[in-house]
């Protein structure tokens, strides 16, 4: 079965958050992912987009965010490409509730959720662009196959 690809381009504004979630949710559903995996993709997409707005573009801007969903036999690959500053998608070293600070910083919990919700997370800087690639396997798929 050939891979199917869906694309979306939005500005880096939080008003686009629901649109990004719905786009990814729809792609996951069309690829036949079950509810739990579809929700995981939607959640990770939300967190990724917010991180891009906050860290890559240092706040809302007209900077582009390109979202691409590619359905494969083993699952769904979601990529986010932006033209902002490089940012670190690594999860925090300690859970935020263990921090002595009263307030929890933006992004830390989100990055943690991305890594736990998705089966694969990869970040690359290519020229002036950030490329964040997330993958979610279909249930029962083993990466060793």
């Amino acid at each position: 079965m050939p891979a199917t690809t869906q694309r979306l381009r939005v500005p880096a504004r939080l008003t686009q958050l629901a649109r990004v979630r719905e786009f990814v949710h729809g792609c996951a559903l069309r690829e036949g992912l079950p509810e739990r995996e579809t929700f995981a993709c939607e959640l990770a997409a939300d967190e990724a987009f917010v991180n891009i707005v906050v860290h890559a573009y240092s706040g809302e801007s007209e900077g582009p965010v390109f979202v691409r969903c590619r359905g494969l036999a083993n699952g769904l690959v979601i990529s986010f490409v932006d033209e902002g500053m490089t940012w670190d998608p690594s999860p925090p070293s300690e859970p935020p509730w263990e921090s002595a600070q009263a307030e929890v910083t933006v992004g830390g919990l989100g990055r943690l959720i991305i890594h736990r919700a998705m089966d694969g997370v990869r970040f690359r800087r290519r020229g002036s662009r950030n490329i964040l690639t997330l993958c979610k396997f279909r249930p029962g798929f083993s990466p060793a196959e």
Binding site: F39, E42, L43, D46, E47, V50, P95, W97, G110, I113
Partner: protein, 110 residues
């Protein structure tokens, strides 16, 4: 998103309805801060009517947890639906905040 609050003598029950994300979490936070500032140190979060819960909502929950515990109280969750429970579990918050199957059990825990 709406936030419904029921205040009892020893505890306040807060029920966010709808999506709690980066666009809507401020309303949730405002209500929780109001309760804490007015003296409520024990809070129950009824997550039965959450459509979506992102880290923005979790940040509010964690901040409120720290505030209530600092004041000698606590926060717990009641009736988390599948999505809310999944997000709490992904973040590891289910091991930090007590999760109860019913409002009654949550209220009785204080």
């Amino acid at each position: 998103m709406d936030v419904k609050t029921t205040e009892y003598k020893r505890v306040a029950v807060v029920q966010p309805v709808g999506r709690v994300d980066s666009n809507t979490s401020a309303e949730f936070e405002t209500e929780l801060r109001r309760l804490v500032d007015s003296g409520h140190i024990n809070l129950v979060l009824d997550l039965s009517k959450i459509d979506f819960l992102s880290s923005a909502g979790l940040r509010v929950i964690v901040s409120t947890m720290k505030s209530t515990r600092k004041n000698g109280g606590n926060i717990c969750v009641a009736e988390a639906n599948a999505r809310a429970a999944e997000v709490m579990k992904l973040a590891g918050l289910d091991s930090v905040i007590d999760m109860h199957p019913t409002r009654e059990a949550a209220i009785a825990s204080f």
